[in-house]
Amino acid sequence: MSALTREEAQALIQEVLEVYPEKAKKDRAKHLAVNDQSVEQSKKCIISNRKSLPGVMTVRGCAYAGSKGVVWGPIKDMVHISHGPVGCGAYSRAGRRNYYVGHTGVNTFGTMNFTSDFQEKDIVFGGDKKLDKLISEIETLFPLSKGISVQSECPIGLIGDDIEAVSKKKSKELNKPVVPVRCEGFRGVSQSLGHHIANDAIRDWVIGNRDGDESFQTGPYDVAVIGDYNIGGDAWSSRILLEEMGLRVVAQWSGDGTLSEMELTSKVKLNLIHCYRSMNYISRHMEEKYGIPWMEYNFFGPTKIAESLRKIAAFFDETIQANAEQVIAKYQAEYDAVIAKYRPRLEGKKVMLYVGGLRPRHVIGAYEDLGMEVVGTGYEFAHNDDYDRTIKEMGNATLLYDDITGYEFEEFVKKVKPDLIGSGIKEKYIFQKMGIPFRQMHSWDYSGPYHGYDGFAIFARDMDMTINNPCWKKLQAPWLQSSEQDATPQAASA
């Protein structure tokens, strides 16, 4: 199947929109577009960051998910309390696979679930007393925790608890940071606002903690990795490249990160941002307050890695620049071998993506390195600036879809017939049952890392393993297969 032409793509969007009632059609039409590289500003062709329509199937998360699940959760030496009823924390526990080193339950707490388990009486009489008691209990049971964050679930905002007052009081009492985060799920249109709220909480309660304290020995090559959540070890396979280049990674935000790393970030020379969407806010703040420049980079696939390493090195002196070239040269044999092995097996395959954060645009380069083509991409919770950055990465006449509904996605897939879909767990089984190879691109389908040169080898293997898996040919029941496919000889009649 060849890719769609611009007219075909337009017609497809129209056809899919046809089933909606007038008002919904008008609204959804703004979120679907055919990519045109000549467009400079995405808002001319696609609208994003709007409330999802009631009645359509969306896969978005809530602000609490953005704050607790994404930004705060991976900070491993803090206890993050899911403040409110038990479900929000219990059902999202450890689902993101943010790897870390440490002894869980002793000095790290990443995969544990702490909750205030609200009952009816807490809703009626308020939960501040319970929170106070809970924090004291945490201190008794887990004295090595470096701090506590209070992640509000919906009811907290509804009943008007004063978590700020409790946090201040307990912080003084325990002599540890206790950070109230107002990330109630009902705020905003998606998890995106949760990222913003979490960033603001870090700005207000963490970033300034070491102001005026010069005891930390800074160096000329100090950098921080921002917006890498170490999914399947992503941050580790990124970090080694930076270190081999001669840079010192002072902090990892927030995968495998610690509170003190975050506090020290205000001392670095350059902030490196991987996930722009979830952590641009804090980078902007540090630029304004401390004069730390920030830059976006992309560690998916050798082409983008080399580009990014050179761009990062350009911020520093010639030694670092020479080192960057050495790093690229060092891994060349390795990634050439990966491409030589997998490219012939994957060449020309078409991919459709629908993920969050940075991946809908960042992984395109990695697929292209393997000779594959991304024919459609979209974000769950992007803003205009994300699409601005996407338009240039995508080919002309490819599909862009924002906050796509379950129905639209299925219809697009039926028409475009991609060889691979990369999306989340909620889409996975639908498409697998439709017989289309699928990779879960939020947590790398229990694999990873995918960042860096080491990650690329795993990425290529996983894509091959999925697309060329023999199981896709076995989806039709034997008696439904046409006779020429059916090689089994019929039993001769007597």
Binding site: H196, Y281, R284, E287, E288, H383, N384, D385
Partner: protein, 72 residues
């Protein structure tokens, strides 16, 4: 009167960023921009106009300033 963070991009253009709205636009023209002062009417590439009383001496970017909508 939104709070606006003004910063420079790699190409040296000034960017106009409203955190509350998550809106970022390039500034196309600034009425007063010399060694003495900075400000006045500011126009963005999307055509919207904003106003700020001239600041002197000119601020160093990035910085957060309060702007008024130009059309009121």
């Amino acid at each position: 009167m939104p709070n606006v963070m003004i910063r420079k991009n790699d190409a040296g253009d000034l960017l106009f960023y409203v955190a509350k709205k998550d809106m970022e636009e390039t500034i196309s023209s600034v009425e007063l921009d010399d060694s003495e002062q900075w400000g006045g009417a500011v126009e963005l590439t999307d055509g919207s106009r904003w106003y700020i009383d001239p600041i002197s001496p000119p601020p160093t970017f990035p910085t957060t300033l309060r702007f008024k909508r130009g059309d009121d």
